[in-house]
Amino acid sequence: MAAVDAAEVVVATSAQEAVEAFGSGADVTVVAGGTIVVPEITHGRLRPRRALLLGGAGLAGLTREAGRTTVGAMATVAALDQAPEPLRSTARHVADAEIRAQATLGGNLCAPPGEQSPRGDLQAALIALGAQVRSAGADGERTEDVEEFLAASPGGRLVLDVSFADPQAGSTAAVRRPHAHAYTVLAVCAARTGGQVRIAASGAGPRAVRCRAAEAAFADAGDAQAAADRVLDDVTPHDDALASAWYRSRTLPVLVRRALTDLT
């Protein structure tokens, strides 16, 4: 197949090898679990010049110690069953068991927005948890808030791991589409960490969005409805193949109220 013939392929056998092969990230197509990028190649939408396969690079594993959870970029979505809420429940609703055993946290975090439907279901959970992303790239290694990571282009970075303080509570509420395997149209995640509640929405734009106005309203009065009323301050829902902007605008406040009501 023409799309794969020309590619130079590196199969990294350690994290260090992966970082070296990634370099500045220019012209490198990273293949983690492959669930998103491989169809792009198969159908000729992506023609990699260099490909970096991470399956043998380590970078997997999920550790929980001293009140902090660290998840390697190559940890599978299935492995997130050991993560705190709302990451655990969010991960359980990604695709189906076979895909969850192949897809990775790093791949999900770096998923480019889909043209017809949202991608990156885990992003809202990671924003709600105030996660820190450790990555390598042109200016070496750095660690930053997941929001900053997503705002810059993840394309130029190689995610190494993601970590966050374990929350006191976490919850999620979502509109899921019943299918042979469910997928998520719209979701709200909330987590209370160190007394602070963070709220984020996914499926309401190209990437997950933190809902700061709703957070502020909730911090003032602890009133889930008051927070719900402010969610559209930060989120401008769009039309796509899954739902209309109108539907999303009506549903999002309900999800915020439900998620916050469940945040015990």
Binding site: V4, A180, H181
Partner: protein
């Protein structure tokens, strides 16, 4: 690169980013894994990679260099059906047959895992597989029978008898 497919070792010459599905079908002429959606949505291409069910359409062959691959070709023969094949036969769990090999390999992984999965756990394990003909009731019935060992494969009999002959009509491999 090397793959051991159904116990036979093969050297693979396709470019490293070629999907496992394409290597199996086009280079090795092993055609039970089907090219359905080719984007991970239908499960028709599922094979076992080192015993775990994986979508071969999502897997670059370089990512599974050296792995053991199992496909329907390795399950049984027309005269000697495996438990999963016999269960699908007994429960009329195939119609056009296009999705059947993916379902069978997912079912085989469940059987291999052992234990006594509930009907709901079986549904979850099969949830990545689409069937557009029969619906899922008969398929889930078949897999339930297979995991519970409630299947007559005829393997213990010297003469496979009528079941063995009937089974010929249901052998996967077509449509190729």
């Amino acid at each position: 690169m090397r793959l051991t497919v159904n116990g036979t070792e093969h050297e693979v010459l396709s470019p490293p980013l070629t999907t496992l599905l394409e290597v199996l079908r086009e280079e090795l002429s092993i055609t039970s894994p089907k090219a359905g959606c080719q984007q991970g949505g239908c499960g028709a291409c599922t094979v076992l990679v080192d015993g775990e069910p994986r979508r071969s359409c999502l897997t670059p062959v370089a990512a599974v260099d050296g792995a053991r691959i199992a496909t329907v070709e390795g399950l049984g023969t027309p005269d000697d059906l495996s438990v999963v094949q016999a269960a699908f036969h007994e429960h009329y769990a195939a119609q056009c047959g296009f999705c059947t090999s993916g379902f069978m390999m997912a079912a085989q992984a469940l059987v291999d895992r052992g234990g006594e999965p509930s009907r709901e756990e079986i549904r979850q394990a099969l949830s990545g597989h689409l069937c557009r003909c029969t619906g899922y009731v008969k398929i889930i019935d078949a897999v339930t029978a297979a995991v519970n060992g409630e299947v007559d494969t005829g393997r213990s009999e010297a003469d496979a008898g009528p079941q063995g002959e009937d089974a010929v009509t249901l052998i996967p491999g077509s449509p190729a």
